[in-house]
Every structure is written in structure tokens, then in C-alpha cells.
């Protein structure tokens, strides 16, 4: 019964969405306030209906209702409660429902927080947002109904893919979707602005927080996925250049470019049409990502719903929205006149360079991702494009980006001098070069990757520090002034440092990693990278829904015990699937990563040990980037812009701070 109500609520939401597309759009065109005002309650109703629908599906999963086909295919009574809940989105149908839930959440947020938007812009934004909703309701209801029943309910379910039964991966999709779908707001704002024919600093100020939020969530989602791959897949790889990873990485790069170009629109009223184009493309890449994951056209490890029919449907959605938006763009972009005047050496120009590097690097990832398809369809060759290509073709862009970033970030608006900025940055530059030389001297005969990473990390972090310190002016009391700087300044410094930390960590890990593969006898110690490991015991353990071969490994250094590790090999009987659970000793500067393999004919066990320097810094840097985004998001100027009218009404006579 609840399942049917959930299905019904979803259909109702689709109908409400249709109304929300048409009525406010006509209202905005004719300037009828009543018609425009329909958007608000409609957005609320949509959100509540989809939330109910999602709750109904979750209820079916939690109570293990095996009359629902989706629950049968993805759940099992013996599964822990957490994974019963996360199982809701651990499959195609349920994850699409989460997708629209987040879409309506963003829509309703625009209705809640958009109080001071011009009414016509608000009505149009909500209308476009709802149009995206209509497309995806149609997709779910016509091709991927999560509420489908079984004619004969089985006694138990087929269990969730064991790889997905993991805390890291459980929350990877929601964050990723918050990012993907969050970019729909930027898209809606861009299309609404094109319909209005007006883009100004205020528009950029409204659109930037949404992009910032989406980018932040995307950062966290990608980091979670990468962290999961690191500890779950058994050899400590953290990025595979898999088509689906690329699908999330392209929108991230474009969103990062959009964030920076929106700054130029906001402060200098330039780059308007480019920013609109980026906003359209960012969401376009989100849709392309959805297409890649769900059509199975480009085979990938994640493709959990290879269904041509669904692929065609998403391709159609992509074509309609991108085609429509780009036609509108071609017709209207000319009207966006730039106003700011600036010299080729200025903050504006630096941000243009930032955009070029980010957009072209996203393009490289895109070409590499679809090239196997091009090869097969046009060249008639079966090709692979893997990590070696991306490492060669993509990395140079990031290196250049890192090199110019600290200088560009400190150039003044309108007109600047590179020499003057470099003089301010001479200390970080000298220190970074010195550290690079030191790293080069300490490592003998290895690749230059490590030292380059050291330079980049030091240059970016110290450059950000000098930048924020220089904002405190001259004279005494600079520390106090530092604390009072706008949050956006802090956000910039923290996010740029995070990028430096991640670059440093990736380069360091790749350059200085050590690996050891051997047959270990129980009780016989062996050495890896200065650590002593002893395989003490291997035994069979029964888990809630799996069997495990669990080893006990003692990790010590110079005779001192550091920790006892328990690497596992699990078999999930319902899905007939083995997984490895690596045991990791996390350290500040390094991880020791141990994997247990098969028992050997002549006694002993295959054991793999990795020494992974700086591993946690990769995700630490990503978290820093996300925190930087959060700081910028909490900056006062957005709150003033967003809550000005309300505050004026409620708190007249009371100082705002």
C-alpha cells in the first residue's frame, strides 16, 4: 500500500512539475504576479511529494518488503540496517529517485531563499528547474520505475553488491548527486537570464552560491569515491581515469571554472556570455555523466544499468536541454555587453587564463573518455584510452595552473604588474625551490615527479598564506585584522592551499610508493620500507552476511610494536562474490597497506604490502578545498544579498552585526 502511495506521489509530482513549467513562464512573460506566484507552492509541493515517494521506497527497503522487485534485487534480510537504507540508492532506479529528490530540493531552496530575486527572474528560474524535473520524472516513470511489484514474492532478496556495502561508498552517491544536480541551478539561472536578456553583477551574486555549493558537494563526493577505491579495491589505487570517474571530474573542472568566471561578472561586469556558456556546459557535463553511467555505451566498472533504451532517453534529455539552451544562447548572448575595462595583465586576465586551463583540461578528459567510441564508429578501430594517456595529456594543464595560480591570485584588478607580484611572492618562491632541491637531493635516481610535487605544494600553500597576509595592510595589529578579513578571502586561501596539498600528495605518493609481494610464512618476520611485518595467524570468521579469511599481521619498527592489522578476504555467499578488505595503518606521513591473498601450496600465504607516503593528504587536500568553498559560501555579502529584504522587515533598528 505504501509502495503504491509512493508511486502515486511521484506521478502527482510530475503533474505539478508540468504546471510549474508552464504557468510561471507565461506569468513572467505577461507580468502577471498571480501566475508567477504559482511557482512557490508548486516547488514546495513537488519537494514534499518526491520526499514522500523516497520515504516510501526507503520503508520498503528497511522492512525488507520482497514484493517490491527493486528490494528483491538489492537487499537481503541479513544485511545491516545502514546498508538496507543506502541500498535504496545503490541501484539504478533508486538512485534516479534520489536524483529527482535532490533536484526538487534545490528547486524548493530557490523558492525559500530567493525572496529578493526579481519576481520575473525567480519565476523563470523555477520554471526551468521544473522542466528538468519533468524530463527526469518521465525517465523514471517510463523506463525505470522503482516501485514495480513482483508477481510472486520470494522468501529473501539477492543482496546488495558487496562492494557497495561500505561506509565510504554508502555516502558517495548522495554527495555526487548533490553536486551534479546542484549544477542544474546554475543552468536554470543561466537560461532564465537568457530569457530575461539581462546579466549583471547581481545575477552573478545570486548564481555563485549555488555553484559554490554544487562544486563543494562534488568535491566531497569525488573524494569519497577515490578514498573508497583506495582502501577497498586492494592495491591502493585512488584514481583510475575510468569513464565514470571522468564523468564526475568534467563537471567538477567546469564548475571550478564557472566559480572563477562568476567572480569577474560580479566584480567587473565582464565575461558575462562566457559565464552563461559555462553554466550551461557544467550541467551539460552532468547530463553526459549520467548518460555515460547509465547507458553502458562506454563500458566502465560502475555501469550498473546497461540498458540501451534508458541510454536513448537520457541522450534525448541531453539533446533537448543542451540544444535548447545553446540555441537560446546563440540568439541572446550578443545582448550581454561587457562593461569592465582592464589591461592584459590584471586579475581579470588571470581568471581568463584560469578558465582556459580548466576548460581545456576538461575538454581533454572529454575527448579521451569518448575516444574509444569515436574509434569504433568512425575510425573502425577497437581502441582503449587508459590512465597512461590521461596522465600524459591532462597533467601538464594542472602543472601550469599550479604555477600561475599564486601570481594570478595576487594580481590587482584592472591593471597590474607581474614583477611586483613576484617580488611579494619571492619568499614562497625561494622556499619552494629550496624544498624541491632538497627533495631532489634526498631521493636518488627516481623520477622528477616527487620534487615537482614538493615545489607545487609549497608554492601554492605559501603563496596563499602570503596573499591573505598581504590583505591585512601595514602597521600593527595585523593578526587581529587577519581574523576580521571577509570569509571569502579565507575561503580562497584555504581552497587554494587544499589544491596545493592534493597536488603534493598525488605526486609524492606516485613517486615514493613502495611495494612488496611475497609468500609469508606464519611467524616469520619480513621487512618493507623500514618496517617489520609478521604474519601471526590466519583464521576463518563468519560475518553477518559474509564469510571471511582474516589474517593478523603485526606491524613494528625498530623492535617497537606499532599496530596489529587484520587484512581480510571476504566471500558474500548470496552474491557469490569475493572482496578484499585491506588493512591500513594510517599515519600522518604514510600509510602501511597490507592485503592477504591465497594460501600457497607449499605453506604460507601470499601477502602484499605497500608503503604509501602522503596517502591521506590527497583527501585532506580535497576536504580543505571543500572547507574553502564553505567559508566563501558563508561570506557576509551573500547573506546580505540573500536576506536583505527579510532582515530589513524583521530587524528594523537592530544592527545587523
Amino acid at each position: 500500500m505504501i509502495t503504491e502511495l509512493g508511486h502515486f506521489a511521484l506521478i502527482l509530482a510530475a503533474l505539478v512539475a508540468c504546471v510549474q513549467v508552464i504557468v510561471p513562464l507565461i506569468g513572467a512573460h505577461k507580468r502577471w504576479p498571480g501566475w508567477m506566484a504559482v511557482a512557490d507552492p508548486a516547488a514546495n509541493a513537488q519537494f514534499l511529494l518526491v520526499a514522500f515517494s523516497f520515504a516510501a521506497l526507503t520503508y520498503a527497503f528497511v522492512t525488507s518488503d520482497f514484493s517490491v522487485k527493486l528490494v528483491v534485487n538489492n537487499s537481503h534480510t541479513a544485511k545491516p540496517l545502514l546498508y538496507k537504507i543506502t541500498g535504496v540508492w545503490g541501484n539504478h532506479e533508486g538512485s534516479m529517485l534520489l536524483w529527482v529528490l535532490i533536484l526538487t530540493l534545490f528547486g524548493v531552496s530557490a523558492a525559500w531563499f530567493g525572496g529578493n530575486l526579481p519576481p520575473t527572474l525567480k519565476a523563470r528560474v523555477l520554471s526551468v528547474q521544473s522542466a528538468i524535473g519533468v524530463a527526469f520524472y518521465g525517465f523514471i516513470l517510463l523506463t525505470s520505475n522503482p516501485f514495480e511489484r513482483m508477481a510472486v514474492p520470494p522468501m529473501n532478496g539477492r543482496d546488495l553488491n558487496p562492494l557497495l556495502q561500505d561506509p565510504g561508498l554508502a555516502f558517495h552517491p548522495p554527495f555526487l548527486y548533490l553536486g551534479y544536480v546542484g549544477l542544474s541551478m546554475a543552468f536554470s539561472f543561466a537560461v532564465a537570464a537568457l530569457i530575461e536578456g539581462r546579466v549583471d553583477a547581481a545575477w552573478a551574486r545570486w548564481v555563485r552560491p549555488w555553484t559554490l555549493a554544487a562544486w563543494m558537494f562534488l568535491t566531497v563526493g569525488i573524494a569519497l569515491g577515490s578514498w573508497w577505491a583506495y582502501y577497498e579495491l586492494g592495491w591502493g589505487g585512488f584514481w583510475f581515469w575510468d569513464p565514470v570517474e571522468n564523468a564526475s571530474f568534467m563537471p567538477w573542472l567546469i564548475a571550478a571554472a564557472l566559480l572563477h568566471s562568476a567572480v569577474v561578472v560580479e566584480k567587473r561586469e565582464s565575461l558575462k556570455s562566457w559565464t552563461i556558456l559555462l553554466a550551461i556546459l557544467a550541467f551539460g557535463f552532468s547530463l553526459i555523466g549520467t548518460f555515460i553511467v547509465r547507458s553502458g555505451v562506454i563500458t566502465s566498472v560502475h555501469a550498473f544499468a546497461n540498458d540501451p533504451e534508458r541510454g536513448v532517453f537520457i541522450l534525448l534529455i541531453l539533446a533537448v536541454f543542451m540544444g535548447g539552451a545553446l540555441v537560446l544562447y546563440a540568439a541572446r548572448a550578443g545582448a550581454m555587453e561587457a562593461r569592465g575595462v582592464f589591461s592584459p595583465v590584471s586579475r581579470e586576465s588571470a581568471l581568463v587564463l584560469n578558465n582556459i586551463l580548466l576548460a581545456v583540461s576538461a575538454f581533454v578528459v572529454f575527448v579521451g573518455t569518448i575516444w574509444p567510441l569515436v574509434g569504433e564508429l568512425i575510425l573502425g578501430r577497437k581502441l582503449s584510452v587508459g590512465a597512461p594517456f590521461f596522465n600524459m595529456a591532462f597533467t601538464p594543464f594542472m602543472v601550469v595552473l599550479g604555477l600561475v595560480l599564486p601570481v594570478g591570485a595576487m594580481l590587482p584588478w584592472k591593471r597590474g604588474k607581474v614583477g611586483r607580484v613576484l617580488r611579494t611572492l619571492r619568499v614562497p618562491l625561494a622556499l619552494a625551490v629550496a624544498l624541491m632541491a632538497l627533495a631532489f637531493a634526498m631521493q636518488t635516481g627516481r623520477s622528477a615527479l616527487g620534487p615537482v610535487g614538493v615545489f607545487m605544494g609549497a608554492w601554492l600553500v605559501m603563496g596563499a598564506a602570503v596573499d591573505i597576509w598581504s590583505k591585512t595592510g601595514r602597521g600593527g595589529n595585523r593578526i587581529a585584522r587577519l581574523a576580521r578579513l571577509p570569509r571569502a578571502d579565507w575561503g580562497k586561501a584555504v581552497a587554494h592551499s587544499g589544491l596545493g596539498v592534493t597536488m603534493f600528495a598525488i605526486a609524492g605518493l606516485m613517486a615514493w610508493e613502495q611495494e612488496d609481494i611475497r609468500v609469508a610464512q606464519v611467524g616469520e618476520p619480513f621487512e618493507v620500507a623500514g618496517y617489520t611485518l609478521t604474519l601471526r595467524d590466519v583464521r576463518q570468521v563468519q560475518g553477518p552476511n559474509f564469510r571471511s579469511t582474516m589474517a593478523e599481521v603485526l606491524l613494528s619498527q625498530d623492535g617497537k610494536e606499532i599496530s596489529v592489522l587484520h587484512p581480510e578476504k571476504r566471500v558474500y555467499p548470496v552474491q557469490q562474490m569475493p572482496t578484499t578488505e585491506a588493512a591500513i595503518d594510517n599515519g600522518l606521513l604514510r600509510d602501511v597497506y597490507v592485503v592477504i591473498g591465497d594460501s600457497q601450496k607449499n605453506g604460507g600465504w601470499a601477502v602484499r604490502t605497500y608503503f604509501k607516503p602522503l596517502a591521506n593528504w590527497i583527501w585532506g587536500g580535497a576536504i580543505l578545498m571543500a572547507i574553502g568553498g564553505l567559508l566563501s559560501l558563508s561570506d557576509r555579502r551573500y547573506r546580505v544579498a540573500a536576506g536583505a529584504r527579510k532582515a530589513a522587515v524583521q530587524a528594523r533598528g537592530v544592527p545587523a552585526e
Partner: protein, 154 residues
């Protein structure tokens, strides 16, 4: 649907096999030769897996390929000869780093060409901005001024 689920779980299973890719018994005694084998392996695709090189894969076929690579190296082949040998047998699908032959040059040139184009377009735009006249400051409308006061007064 059942078949689909089976294919999916198989595909995922291949990827997720306990990743004891290189087995202890495969490792060559000569560390230099072994390192070369590892370097070559990282550029070769496991044909039955999804986007995985033979060095990290646990599939039987990947093991066969790893052994084949080591066999050729022991015979005294150079790295290129080993790769050519494998490509001759399994086709260029096995290469994770595509060659630059035929239409593939476009794949490799796409990034640099796009960069040149973007830099050119950017330069034209920046020149335009540097030469443009600062537009006459438009006066705020009545409503906008009221709104400005409202915000500033807070």
C-alpha cells in the same frame, strides 16, 4: 533482467577479485627485468576486465599475459618488441596508451590544439577589453536607489 544482473555481477566480480594481481611465483629473479615487466604490464589492458591493466588484474587471462611478457623478456626482447608481440596477437585494444597512428593523432593533438585556439580567443578578448572605453556610468533608477539605501542602512 536476470541475464543483465548476471553479466553485471560477473563484470563487477572480475574487477573486484581479491587483487593479488602479480602472484609471488610470477616474479622474476632479476629485479631489473622484473621492473621492466611491471612497467610494460601497466600499459597493457586486461582484455576481459573493464579498464584495468594486467598488472592490477586478477583475471586468468591477465596472469597469462603477465607470464607471456616475462617469458619474452627472458628471451631477450626489448620493451618495444614485447609490446609489439602482444599487440600482434591481441590487437591494439590491448594498449592503454593509444598509438599516434592514423586518426589517433587527433586524440593526442586535441588538447594542444584546443589550448592554442582558446589562448588565441582569450588574447583577442583581452585586447578588446583593454581598448574598450569605460561606459558612461548609468544612473540608478529610483527603485534601485531606494533598494541601495535599504541595504546600506542595515
Amino acid at each position: 533482467m536476470k541475464r543483465l544482473a548476471l553479466i553485471l555481477s560477473l563484470a563487477l566480480a572480475m574487477f573486484a577479485m581479491p587483487a593479488l594481481a602479480v602472484q609471488p611465483d610470477e616474479i622474476l629473479d632479476d629485479p631489473k627485468l622484473e621492473q621492466r615487466a611491471r612497467d610494460i604490464s601497466e600499459g597493457l589492458r586486461c582484455l576481459v576486465c573493464r579498464n584495468e591493466n594486467i598488472d592490477a588484474s586478477n583475471a586468468e587471462l591477465a596472469r597469462d599475459l603477465r607470464l607471456l611478457v616475462r617469458e619474452r623478456l627472458l628471451e631477450g626482447d626489448s620493451n618495444e618488441e614485447v609490446v609489439d608481440f602482444i599487440v600482434a596477437r591481441y590487437g591494439e585494444f590491448v594498449l592503454l596508451k593509444p598509438t599516434m597512428t592514423g586518426g589517433n593523432w587527433l586524440l593526442w593533438a586535441a588538447g594542444p590544439l584546443m589550448l592554442l585556439f582558446a589562448l588565441g580567443a582569450g588574447a583577442v578578448y583581452l585586447r578588446g577589453r583593454a581598448r574598450a572605453q569605460e561606459p558612461a556610468q548609468q544612473d540608478l533608477s529610483e527603485g534601485e536607489q531606494a533598494r541601495l539605501r535599504e541595504i546600506l542602512d542595515e
